[in-house]
Symmetry: C2
Subunit: 288 residues, 2 copies
DNA sequence: ACTATCACGAAAATAATTTGCAGGATTTCG
DNA sequence: CGAAATCCTGCAAATTATTTTCGTGATAGT
């Protein structure tokens, strides 16, 4: 487990002095990772032993162990604690975006519900036809991405960003054979919910990539939950999208492993096609 | 700068003892971050002072500073030093994908050519119309993504994955007013190269997101270079895409800052539209 | 009000790290 | 080839950082 989560959890149970230490760590991370136990103690106006005890309490072996653990989660964790002043300097903008994207990935990994992924994998691998739905710039991209990833494995799949089409397709899907997979960043795409209900009525299994405990999540059989802390402008949909993409990537890889033989064959054929169509250079693997 | 790069660079100039220390760090990272200077020294068969000197040489203030820096770059940097063991266990697959994606982001950031981004930003911000081109599952996604990001800023933009359309559009673009931006993961999409040539003849500025020194790169005025070592796993040549997406994100953010007033207004209108169209809950920021 | 528990810091003890120094190896240059 | 210079290295001492021990005062429960 990572320190920041632990810290958030324990926060309530800490004593006054310990809270002061925690605050310093949360507010001035740079100082905290670099400081010695004495400096940290002084700044928090406590004694070094208190700091040691604080570290132990958080599950670390020692103060140095604490600092290491802190540093390790750091690159990932700092950003969402300290929303830094919005700089428009290109270097900062770039750094910021990269850091946030990495955060999103980190959090995806933290919250990974493998069981859900495996269930989804089973459904997809067995499906005779897969319908991938999503609307709006973000989710529609995810839907095409699902298509893009799965057809390469030899699966039958179509993606649609169109509500009316989605409803019709959901109605046309074959019971217990076809699978519907939908994405909604907000979790409140009511049209998608409707399509899910329709599918459920028709005994078509449904998978949702969405915020947990949202209307979309509740309407689906299997939920690949992707929850990013909302509220501030820190988590713009753009870094969330990276998490979605990684989730699709994971899902597709698991499916690929599950149906390995078939997938390898299809891939080879696709590649063949690309190579002969292009300049004979096969350095490009699977499409541009 | 991060420690791993420094370590790679200095590697040749190190003495015997120091090389031993470096090897231990590179091969058994877990041990290295957790060990005390004495343990590390013993294992490398050197004295503690040698370790201290080693740390200084790498630009750290002290051994502890070294460990902190090591821990900080760790999550990101280790993976691509040690080729992963091929496992199909879902947890490993997931971890691997996340790590690769983070690596891709890391490498994007390392190799960032800000000047190119700024040039591209200038072109895009001033463009009267933007054409975003890309073909194949990956690049066509990037093209739509460019559209998705830029139209929100109030810019006029269209994306096309269709070669014939691309050529016609390139021919129709207005000299010195319109801009063409194209993506090619492989750098050898000859149709895109043709479109770029056409644009150049017509004095339409061109921006390429592609591999550096590739045909596509050579055909463009401004190159946002994205060079990734493609993995060996044929199921998943895809972490590169995350880097592309982040690059687009950076580009779009820079453009947004450049034309801030206009962008803010447009964004507000889009949001307004989404909120009234949905259930009045504005928790979703900018599309699903 | 009494006891148990807890939080905390002072000081002592311990452990880790760095510094200064000197021997030995290696390189450089005459 | 040999002498001087330089660099690498470890030892031991000095320094610094961290942890443990122990005692005090505060707080909560009975």
């Amino acid at each position: 487990m990572d320190l920041f989560s632990t810290l958030q959890e324990e926060k309530g149970r800490l004593s006054q002095s310990e809270t002061r230490i925690a605050d310093i760590i949360l507010n001035d991370f740079e100082f905290a990772v670099n400081a010695s136990i004495i400096e940290l103690a002084e700044r928090a106006d406590v004694s070094p032993p208190t700091v040691t005890r604080f570290c132990r309490r958080l599950g670390c072996d020692s103060f140095s162990d604490f600092k290491i653990q802190l540093a390790r989660t750091a690159y990932i964790g700092v950003r969402y604690l300290k929303p830094e002043p919005q700089s428009t300097d290109p270097a900062d903008v770039a750094k910021d975006i990269v850091a946030k994207a990495q955060n999103a990935l980190y959090m995806l990994h933290q919250a990974l519900d493998l069981a859900a992924y495996e269930q989804a994998t089973d459904l997809l691998a067995k499906a005779e036809m897969i319908y991938a739905f999503g609307a709006g710039g973000n989710s529609s991209m995810i839907a095409s991405e699902i298509q893009n990833r799965l057809f390469r494995l030899g699966l039958r799949v179509t993606a649609s960003p169109d509500h009316s089409m989605q409803l019709m397709m959901a109605a046309a899907a074959k019971p217990e054979k076809d699978v519907l997979i939908g994405s909604s960043f907000s979790g409140r795409n009511t049209e998608l919910v409707r399509a899910f209900h329709l599918a459920r009525e028709g005994k078509v299994s449904t998978i949702a990539l969405t915020q947990s405990n949202s209307p979309v999540a509740r309407a689906a059989d299997v939920v690949i939950a992707i929850d990013m802390p909302e509220g501030t402008n820190i988590y713009r949909p753009t870094s969330t999208r990276i998490a979605y993409l990684a989730a699709v990537d994971i899902l597709a890889s698991l499916v690929a492993h599950k149906i390995q033989a078939q997938a390898t064959l299809t891939l080879r054929r696709i590649k063949q096609q690309l190579v002969t169509h292009r300049d004979g250079d096969d350095r490009q693997l699977l499409g541009d």
